[in-house]
């Protein structure tokens, strides 16, 4: 039996994945469990294993294509076994010579039923045509196959074969060459376009399509910022004792597990402790009520080349600094290498985002929903501060807590943030 390989669902939020690389060629033999391809999800790059042994008979989605979860991506089967028919790919980009310009949609009504013959529907599916835009000529206002084909034809850029060939070779976009309706683009037109293009210094912009992680971040941030009522609290922390503590502990921890203790590790510890004392902050706004979580799992935002990801230290309240520092170091390394597994970035209950290393004094972060609060950490800077009526120089750091007001009121957020400040200014208590 031929086995159809589908885009796996590698995380709860994953709806599509990008085919990074096929590790096997069509016609090559694969064994079950052998790495078959590399997939990029919204969060990570993963190697996907072959689900069966056989010959990789057909690759349905080329490298670089964005494919919905569950869609067929390849067929593994016997050498001469007849292959099952696979429906037309919808996610994969189809190479097309004809460029179809943006459709001037005459505002079709959503959900409007279009009377169309099955053949018209099939052809519309094949060409990705919205039947509502096609002028019906069949009886009783029915869209027939010919109508769809004429519509497709009308949207095509007309060009002579030579013009088309040159355009393809030189990378000229035929749809950008203005030509009166019905007239064909000639070789001359393409060459002129090429000439004027070379005079123009540069294109004004380029478009990076929404895909993968970028798309997820874009969708999620817009949604969260629009739907969650944020408010922000900021205070300043004297980090003197934390720095002292780190100086003392760092060599020991280094010796213990070879990792450098970071300020972030101490922040995680402090936040975990404060969350244990204020469980309402460790919660989510659920459909039916506030979901108060029993585990304290702290996420740490990690910047990547073209996005970010939040690996999670599980049960941070129950772990010591040595353990936390070891785990964060590992998670950050995996994140940068795109090797995080869903388990590494799922289940967070609170997030810390630190931009201090970029000299940021303070900032307000967008809550990492469904969590209820996020802590934005600024840089540690020596500042003149008043201590017991004297001006002294202290290493100061600003913390900004973004809260979901549905769950956390101002006073609660303030008390929680103040507790973190207390813990950082007297870190011995954290070790209790």
């Amino acid at each position: 039996m031929a086995e159809i390989v589908r885009m796996p669902k590698l995380g709860l939020t994953m709806t599509e994945g990008t085919i990074i690389k096929w590790l096997k060629k069509e016609g090559e033999e694969v064994k079950q469990g052998e790495p078959l391809l590399e997939i990029q999800t919204d969060k990570v790059n993963l190697e996907e294993e072959a689900p069966a042994s056989g010959i990789l008979r057909k690759i349905l989605t080329p490298e670089g294509s964005v494919v919905a979860v569950g869609q067929e991506i390849a067929i593994i089967g016997g050498e001469s076994e007849p292959l099952p028919e696979i429906g037309k790919q919808t996610g994969a980009e189809v190479e097309e010579v004809e460029v179809e310009p943006e459709l001037p949609a005459p505002a079709p009504q959503p959900g409007e039923k279009v009377k169309a013959s099955p053949a018209a529907k099939r052809v519309a599916r094949e060409y990705g045509v919205d039947l509502r835009l096609v002028t019906p000529t069949g009886p009783d206002g029915r869209v027939v196959e010919k109508d769809v084909l004429e519509y497709v034809e009308s949207r095509k850029v007309k060009a002579t074969p030579v013009a088309r060939k040159i355009a393809e070779e030189k990378g000229v976009d035929l749809s950008q060459i203005g030509k009166p309706e019905g007239e064909r683009i000639t070789k001359q037109d393409v060459l002129e376009a090429l000439k004027s293009a070379s005079l123009e210094p540069q294109e004004e912009y380029r478009v990076i399509p929404w895909a993968g992680m970028r798309k997820i971040i874009s969708d999620k941030m817009a949604k969260v910022k629009a739907e969650v009522p944020h408010f922000y609290l900021t205070l300043e922390v004297d980090m003197g004792k934390v720095l002292e503590l780190r100086e003392k502990l760092a060599p020991k921890i280094q010796e213990l597990n070879g990792v450098k203790l970071s300020i972030n590790d101490i922040l995680i510890k402090a936040a975990a402790r404060a969350l244990a004392e204020y469980p309402m902050v460790n919660s989510s706004a659920g459909e039916e009520g506030i979901v108060v979580k029993n585990r304290i799992n702290i996420g740490l935002a990690v910047a990547l080349e073209n996005g970010l990801i939040v690996p999670v230290v599980k049960d941070a309240d129950k772990k010591g600094l040595a353990q936390i520092s070891k785990e964060t170091a590992e998670l950050i390394k995996k994140a940068r290498e795109g090797r995080l597994l869903p388990d590494d970035y799922c289940g967070g209950t609170f997030t810390i985002s630190n931009l201090g290393m970029y000299d940021i004094e303070e900032f307000s972060a967008i809550i990492n929903a469904p969590e209820s609060a996020i802590l934005a950490v600024g840089k540690i800077a020596k500042k003149p501060v008043v201590v017991e009526d004297e001006i002294v120089v202290r290493p100061m750091m600003k913390l900004t807590l973004s809260c979901d007001h549905r769950v956390i009121d101002g006073a609660l957020g303030a008390k929680f943030l103040r507790r973190i400040k207390q813990l950082l200014e007297d870190p011995i208590e954290m070790l209790l």
């Binding site: 013959s117 099955p118 053949a119 099939r122 069949g138 009886p139 027939v144 196959e145």
Partner: protein
Amino acid sequence: MAEKLYIDALREGLREEMQRDQSVFLLGEDIGIYGGAFGVTRGLIDEFGEERVVDTPISEQAITGIAVGAAVAGMRPVVEIMFFDFLTLSMDQLINQGAKIRYMFGGKAKVPMVIRAPMGCGTGAAAQHSQSFPGVFAHFPGLKVVIPSTPHDVKGLIKAAIRDDNPVVFAEHKLLYRVKGEVPEEDYVLPLGKADIKRKGRDITIVAGSIMVIRALEAAKELEKEGIDVEVIDPRTLKPLDMRTIIDSVKKTGRVLIVEDDPLSFGWGAEVAAGIAGSEAFDYLDAPVKRLGGLDIPIPYNPNLERHAVPQVENIVEAVRELLR
């Protein structure tokens, strides 16, 4: 290739099979000296004698029963029923006996018999001598049903029917007997269950059987003048029904008209239509499946009314135009 009449090609097929196989014999009313009501068996009694061309009393039930018994006993009887209408009298022997025996005996008994009959209207023979209902027999498991439309097909198919080990209903439209067509000289047999593309076209598929093939081809000629390119598919046998050829044609043309001589209501055209709708051809349909067939009335004696009781060339032309509108 010589041009021959349908009736002569049919007789030639019978003769060749009788010459080839001693177990083949004919029986029916007035098929001997008289040569059959329409003359199909004319002259065969002289060649093969009374033992192999048997005149029977007027009892269709008895004739059919004798044939079933003879077939089970190892003969290959070919029954002529004078009018297709009278097959109603053969129904019990044919359907409750002939169609069931091979199955009920676990394949150990065979029923290699053919039951031929002239059918259809257009001869002014009124309601009891004018019906076409081969589709009725296609309804019953155990029977095969053949509706040949041309001299070439009728010869090849009668030979296949005689050689088949199952009871075969062989429906000959009376108006076809006088139709001429090319018939190969050599011995040939056409498979049961294989449709024939009578005319290639790309705009619309007409599925037509028996006399309607001739009318569909005439309609196609008319429509050609309007630039409409019609494909005509003749299933040739209703059972087994070659849906594959029909589906492939509909996938190509996207439009289909089914024309039958049987009454339209519950006719075999509905079976074809359902087969198309349920196949991959569905996605290629660019217009609703359309059917033409006999009106839901007994065939009238009045020749003007009789003509309108079943599809004529002009009805087919009009239906095609409508489908392509």
